[in-house]
């Protein structure tokens, strides 16, 4: 029985543990291995081979395994721009396969040849296509542009340059919050904000908070208390004088005690009690928050249920 082999997406097989000497047409698998990496990171053991592209024509011709355009196209489908765009002209930049639409890959044989203004060809391939990769590559590192001796710039591949593009910071903040609202909240890993709606039963309008500004449940709950305190005061308007500030302990009682329960809707659409999972897992899966009235939260918060029952 043959040893089962692991194949990666483009069909290159791992070198067999035993026996067979590599055929003379075998590729240097380590070099051609597709790996995920942050933009700008270069794996040290990669070297370009005599200035010829790893995907150069000669290799392509020799290729007698599944390493060809087809599977590559499938792997990177979903994004729109051709690989060639990344190399052409901006060949000063490292390669980023920004994916290729079927059309682009089809018409650009250039996909497999190097083009660079300075003849540089970074053999590092940063696959950035697809959502799965996005989670690995969080935000691009902010680096100053480096310069080489002859005055032209050799920037890190697609890394963020200080102050470029020239956008004012107040504008960045505005757009970051509003665009993250429009796109699917959890796939926007690079934007640094995670705005979710927060509703409270009985309140006339909702609020929005950026989960990324908190690092623990305690911070979140105190922020929510502050935000919604005006409504809880309203609830108890008869009991308090108009200008009396609700003490922190009373507020905590209101929110943590018998009246309210903090819940969230996760990616699957289920309503969950806040606090069960680690904070990071929570921020990854939380789509919206709801401050529920205690008695509505039956099944979510046993403690609340008991209090409800005991009050009846």
């Amino acid at each position: 029985m043959s040893v089962p082999q692991e194949h990666d997406y483009i069909g290159l097989s791992e070198p067999l543990p035993s026996g067979k000497p590599p055929s003379k047409n075998a590729l240097n698998l380590k070099q051609t291995e597709l790996r995920l990496g942050l933009p700008g990171s270069e794996s040290p053991e990669r070297k370009s081979v005599n200035g010829v592209s790893i995907f150069g024509k000669d290799l392509k011709d020799e290729c007698n395994n599944a390493f060809c355009q087809g599977p590559l196209k499938n792997y990177v489908s979903g994004a729109k721009r051709g690989f060639s765009d990344a190399i052409n002209g901006s060949g000063k930049w490292g390669l980023g396969i920004n994916g290729g639409s079927e059309v682009d890959l089809g018409k650009n044989d250039v996909l497999f040849s190097p083009k660079g203004v300075n003849g540089n060809f970074k053999s590092n391939i940063n696959l950035q296509a697809g959502n799965s990769v996005k989670e690995v590559c969080k935000s691009s590192p902010v680096v100053e542009e480096k310069k080489n001796g002859n005055g032209s710039t050799t920037p890190a591949s697609k890394a963020q340059v200080v102050g470029w593009p020239p956008i004012r910071s107040f504008r960045k903040n505005t757009l970051a919050t509003t665009t993250s609202k429009n796109s699917d909240v959890n796939t926007k890993s690079g934007s640094g904000c995670l705005y979710v709606k927060v509703s409270m039963d009985g309140a006339p309008y909702l609020r929005k908070i950026d989960l990324k500004t908190y690092s623990s449940y305690a911070q979140l709950s105190s922020a929510l208390e502050k935000m919604f305190s005006c409504f809880t005061i309203g609830q108890y308007g008869d009991g308090l004088e108009g200008h009396e500030r609700l003490s922190e302990s009373r507020l905590m009682d209101l929110l943590h005690g018998s009246e309210y329960v903090l819940t969230y809707e996760d990616k699957d659409g289920d309503w969950m009690l806040v606090g069960d999972v680690p904070w990071e897992m929570f921020t990854d899966s939380c789509k919206r928050l709801r401050i529920m009235k205690g008695c509505d939260a039956i099944g979510l918060a046993p403690r609340t249920m008991q209090k409800c029952k005991s009050q009846n």
Binding site: P39, A79, K80, R81, D85, N88, G89, S90, K92, W93, G96, N98, G99, Q128, S139, S140, E144, E145, K147, N150, G151, S152, T153, P155, K158, Q160, V161, V162, G163, W164, P165, P166, I167, R168, S169, F170, R171, K172, N173, T174, L175, T177, T178, T179, K181, N182, G190, S191, Y205, L206, K208
Partner: protein, 582 residues
């Protein structure tokens, strides 16, 4: 070659006796408003110089370090309105360290002594502390208008002082303040019957204000014509404000995010419709699609629509623009894409200014946004276009050539191809011909920002043709010193030159030696200028301040950031340690 005639200390001499008595001259001069004209007037002869200085009431200082408060106080005895600008523009993009300077305090100390009747103060890119605001509030009983654009350093305490003490305040205009949270308590500090406000803009301050106090303020200030609220104000609150202030001409909407009842929806539609004088609309953060139509009733007279805070889609924009036939200025986010810009081209024939901002400037995988096609579509439909700021990810020379053929009247052409050094995406050539066409065709061009892959050829074109250019911004462009030299030799009206990440070195830098005194300033960062070159310039030109900021851990012989500007005040007395004046 002469230093700024506005601020020069030396009066011209008299050649013959004056044909006019002083009173007549002063009366005539009191109608001359522009500071440039006044500068010219002051150069004619000594009595004109004196008449001018006695009648000048508005002071404009484009670079706060070009002159000292003492010099200003000596020359102009009767100033009522002051505009002061501080940091160089590239500080907006984090190229300048914190605490670089431009603190207004020492100016205010002088003003408090010399100009007790000061009425207006407009500051841009300056640091304004609470202490300064308190000094301002207490020193000028007639004070009317405060405008802070891109300023920092203050908190709500400073604003409270203004609200409490400035009894005649007509204008409080805070724009683009991006710094730490300024609390909202100041709004509640206006006196009980305060009614003089005409302009109130706190849109860029993030904190919540007390709505009841705001409502009271708005209802009392019957002359209010500009109201720009921040995003803590939601739609139904805005509706209540509009009921009191239907006379406004400029409105900055707060947050559009709210789930409205049908009744609320109707109320706000009516409120907008009743704002018949509305000319300017902005804000609209988190505008949700269903509610955009409530605005339609307010759009008939709109001349300026600022949607730069709300990422609309093309369809939404098209529907909105159909209601704005009088639009002259439009700011949008590139989520509207080329299709949205086609709608602009077809709906806005009177358009004069277009700014398209990127929704995701740092996301290199972002394939959406606008392209050369959108720009072309606008240029075809909006022949009066003269101001453009356009962020895109691809462009072609052919498109730019066609665009300026369609709209040869550009005065401000700021095109930003967001990937540095990117060529024409169809031909792979540099963008020289495109930008060259702009220089050639747009004879009235005053402000020019270039981008993409550019060789010295672009700068040859600029030097040869762009004779009216006053502000030039260059990044990641050029091939050699020759490029910069072409500009320095060829552009007689150049006032501000800002350069980053270009291969221009000492030869080019020093070739402009004679020119820099005719300019307001030069900024060069991440170029090839050396400390030696800077020292040479400083030595040759004593009336220039040559300041260098070096980044941590960089080569000591290179000058990472160079800021050169003419000055009558000598080297800065308040320079922080990282700013080296040579």
């Amino acid at each position: 070659m002469d230093p700024d005639p506005n601020i020069s200390d030396d009066p011209p001499s008299n050649s013959a006796s004056s044909p006019f008595p002083d009173e007549v001259l002063e009366r005539v001069l009191s109608f001359v408003d522009s500071h440039k004209d006044r500068g010219s007037v002051s150069l004619v002869r000594k009595d004109w110089y004196n008449a001018e200085r006695w009648t000048r009431s508005k002071l404009f200082i484009g670079n706060c370090y070009s002159v000292s408060p003492e010099i200003v106080a000596r020359r102009f005895p009767r100033i009522k309105s002051i505009t002061l600008k501080g940091r160089p523009r590239f500080s907006d993009f984090n190229l300048l360290p914190q605490d670089w300077g431009a603190n207004v305090h020492y100016w205010l100390v002088m003003f408090a002594k010399v100009y007790p009747f000061l009425e207006e103060l407009r500051l841009k890119r300056m640091t304004v502390t609470d202490e300064s605001l308190e000094l301002l509030a207490k020193s000028f009983p007639d004070f009317k208008a405060l405008s802070l654009s891109s300023c920092d350093g203050f908190s709500e305490n400073g604003l409270k002082a203004i609200a409490i003490h400035c009894r005649n305040l007509t204008e409080l205009d805070i724009q683009d303040s991006a710094t730490e949270d300024v609390g909202g308590g100041w709004l509640s500090c206006f006196p009980e019957n305060f009614a003089s406000l005409e302009i109130l803009n706190f849109a860029s301050l993030n904190s919540e204000v007390n709505f009841d106090d705001l409502e009271r303020l708005v209802s009392q200030c019957k002359s209010l014509r500009v109201l720009k609220v921040n995003e803590s104000i939601i739609l139904d609150q805005l509706q209540r404000l509009l009921v009191h202030a239907s006379q406004i001409t400029e409105l900055g909407i707060g947050s559009f995010m709210q789930e409205l009842t049908p009744r609320q929806h109707e109320d706000i539609e009516i409120a907008f419709r009743n704002c018949r004088k509305l000319q300017v609309l902005s804000g609209l953060w988190e505008a949700t699609t269903p509610y955009l139509p409530v605005l339609y009733g307010a759009c008939a007279g709109l001349t300026f629509l600022n949607l730069s805070g709300v990422p609309l889609q093309s369809g939404e924009l098209a529907k909105l623009l159909a209601h704005c036939p009088n639009l002259r200025r439009l700011w949008v986010v590139d989520t509207v894409e080329d299709k949205g810009l086609e709608a602009v081209g077809s709906s806005c024939p009177l358009l004069e200014e277009l700014r398209v901002f990127p929704a995701d400037p740092y996301d290199h995988q972002h394939r959406d946004g606008v392209t050369e096609l959108g720009f072309l579509a606008v240029s075809r439909g909006c022949r009066k276009l003269h101001y453009v700021l356009y962020f895109c990810r691809r462009m072609t020379n052919a498109a730019v050539v066609t665009i300026v053929q369609n709209c040869p009247g550009f005065t401000h052409f700021r095109l930003c191809i967001m990937t540095p050094g990117q060529p024409d995406y169809l031909t792979n050539e540099p963008m020289d011909e495109g930008f060259g066409a702009v220089a050639k065709t747009c004879t009235k061009l005053k402000r020019f920002s270039v981008s993409g892959l550019l060789t010295d050829k672009t700068f040859e074109y600029i030097g040869k043709y762009a004779k009216n250019v006053e502000t030039l911004s260059v990044a990641f462009a050029g091939s050699s010193d020759w490029g910069m030299q072409c500009v320095l030799e060829g552009c007689p009206k150049l006032r501000k030159l800002e350069i980053r990440d270009c291969p221009f070195g000492d030869a080019a830098f020093l070739s402009g030696q004679g020119k820099y005194e005719t300019m307001r300033s030069l900024w060069m960062s991440a170029c090839n200028v050396t400390m030696k070159g800077c020292r040479l310039l400083a030595r040759e030109m004593p009336r220039l301040n040559v300041e260098v900021i070096n980044d941590e851990g960089s080569d000591d012989s290179q000058a990472d950031k160079v800021y050169v500007y003419r000055s009558l005040a000598g080297p800065r007395r308040d320079a922080p340690p990282f700013v080296v004046t040579l």
